[in-house]
Subunit: 411 residues, 2 copies
Amino acid sequence: MTDISPLAPEKFPDLAPVKGVQFATRAVGVKYKDRTDLMVADLAEGSNIAGVFTLSLTASAPVDACREALKEGHGKARAIIVNSGNANAFNGKKGIASVSNIVGEAEKIFGCSKHEIFTASTGVIGQALPDAKITGALAGMKEELGQASFEDAARAIMTTDTFPKGASKQVKIGGEVVTISGFAKGSGMIAPNMATMLAFIFTDAAISSDVLQALLKTAGDKSFNAITVDSDTSTSDTVLLAATGQAGHKEITSISDPALDDFKAALDDTLIDLAQQIVRDGEGASKFITVKVAGAETDVAAKTIALAIANSPLVKTAIAGEDANWGRIVMAVGKAGEKADRDKLQISIGGVLIAGEGEAVEGYDEAPVAAHMKGQEIDILVDVGISDGQATVWTCDLTHGYIEINADYRS
Amino acid sequence: MTDISPLAPEKFPDLAPVKGVQFATRAVGVKYKDRTDLMVADLAEGSNIAGVFTLSLTASAPVDACREALKEGHGKARAIIVNSGNANAFNGKKGIASVSNIVGEAEKIFGCSKHEIFTASTGVIGQALPDAKITGALAGMKEELGQASFEDAARAIMTTDTFPKGASKQVKIGGEVVTISGFAKGSGMIAPNMATMLAFIFTDAAISSDVLQALLKTAGDKSFNAITVDSDTSTSDTVLLAATGQAGHKEITSISDPALDDFKAALDDTLIDLAQQIVRDGEGASKFITVKVAGAETDVAAKTIALAIANSPLVKTAIAGEDANWGRIVMAVGKAGEKADRDKLQISIGGVLIAGEGEAVEGYDEAPVAAHMKGQEIDILVDVGISDGQATVWTCDLTHGYIEINADYRS
């Protein structure tokens, strides 16, 4: 339907395999023809899992079920099952029944508790999920485990995405090499008809489920919760982190264990990489924008201000027009509702200070700023002059392409 | 620059004169050529005034000065001076000096305290206001008072507006006819380079300044604070309500005086009319959208949900595309962060119930909904199924026109 985003990476990255994780994919015809739309990830016995989900108060049935499984199953998991083409959302009691049917079949096939099966669905909402197409395929897919690559898995969960998204890192814990590899999908943030944000990250590290949950929460705030395309929020957003424990080191049971330091950084990097790829696939995006806010009262205040800038239609359209319009940035800072000193505010674009002390910097060199605005990577730095709180968020510009995708589409 | 909005009223309405209020306008060349850009409203001695302003924490110098005058002058006023073409915002200490120069000249000419002079400025930001062009015209304009009509005054304060906005009502207080007439400007909500929202409302009712302030706060929340074009907030938004007290009835000094009942309703109507006209001039607007939310936990919760719907780029683009996309409305309800029952949610478009009890209403008649979506006036009603809180807000759709105006413009 659409060309590949101009901001896409050149190719899907090489993802290191994760001990104890295997994939199978199939084309079962939930909605799409001639492409895979069902992904099963098999997790070795003893795997732990952590999850973060949409904050939407109208969350979908699969999200509700994942939250319950996480709680009742004490963070253990054996399989993740994801379909594209249908979000299984806002379809009444049918949604709950579909999740129950899939989980019921999977617990038999994988020989585990129902609380060890996690599902996610993405695609159109308001329609019954043809779950028999999924349950009918699971037994066969179990036999095919290992035949699908990370890229195959990433492709099976795509909806309006124009490219598959993956990231991978290796570090050591207790002298052993551990791998973190994951993939994600999402292009608007978020078109609930089509473009829920999903991410699945796997590691062979041995980490207790409570520590895993804490790690995911922290990394999620720095990554998936620091990106925005259009400020909208899907009813189905799901991020799962599974740890198989097969790397060979002693299990980590404390979040403050120094052996985790490199792992924490690598997990943050992996999630930030995936999150940035989602922004790079933003609907109609022509520019990737980094917004850094410094000098705020707290880090939380800095993030609120950064998101106000990143979500401002006026800032996003100015950048689409390659206009270094600092006045719109001032406006966005003002509406964020966090402390800022109008007369100390400093704004830099592409590393050039263009506004400070309450007014434009007289005689700043416009040529490098104009050149920066013509590029695909835009850097905005705002110091609000209060204290030392800081945050970074990423977004894309707002273009005619966004309107075309979202106004010209009929459900 | 642009054609008149397709949602504009046929003509400027007939506004009843207000005893004790006179206008003068001039073309002083602040920025524009061949059009008026300075408006003076003279208020009879003894007039009271109330004001509500932008919540932006980077408010402009004129807004800061109005707030101070209101406080220090105990709600008394003799003149309102407004220029278009330059917002006198984010230009450092020069902004404060310009306000001081204008107020200083005006207090001499009008023979009053500086706290009885109110100013507003709208137009480009980040540039020094050529205030000498304004101060040099004030003495002459005092001689011309009464020569300008409400429509003249409304036109002098326009920036990117495609039509002047006015509204008027007459009711009785204590047996005497009182008039409320006012005008406004604004087209984006809000492009700080050009499109600050300003409104000036005048009445000959005799109302103490504290009651006037309470009335304006209530009416403002139902009107100017219940509209949104793009969720952005100007640094200069200003609404002033002046009461000359010349209608001949006894002064009202209590907000709960039953003699005020009709006046309250008329004031609400006047402000809602002006606010809706601003939405009808929204940048790129092709459809006027009314969002009613019922069944919320409180009225405040209902308004939060209604604004989440009205500000959602996905809802606004769907309406631009004439798509009755209730899935995007569900999404917006979910992200609002207020209580909603996913499985009791009811959504009507154009009076037709299209979703209820957590799913699409099977077999609803699509023809009238499709016809409604093709019209210029779109009605959305959402019942979130919790309690009896309700609210109504107004917005417009998000079109290619918005992107053209905001991305293709260079500052």
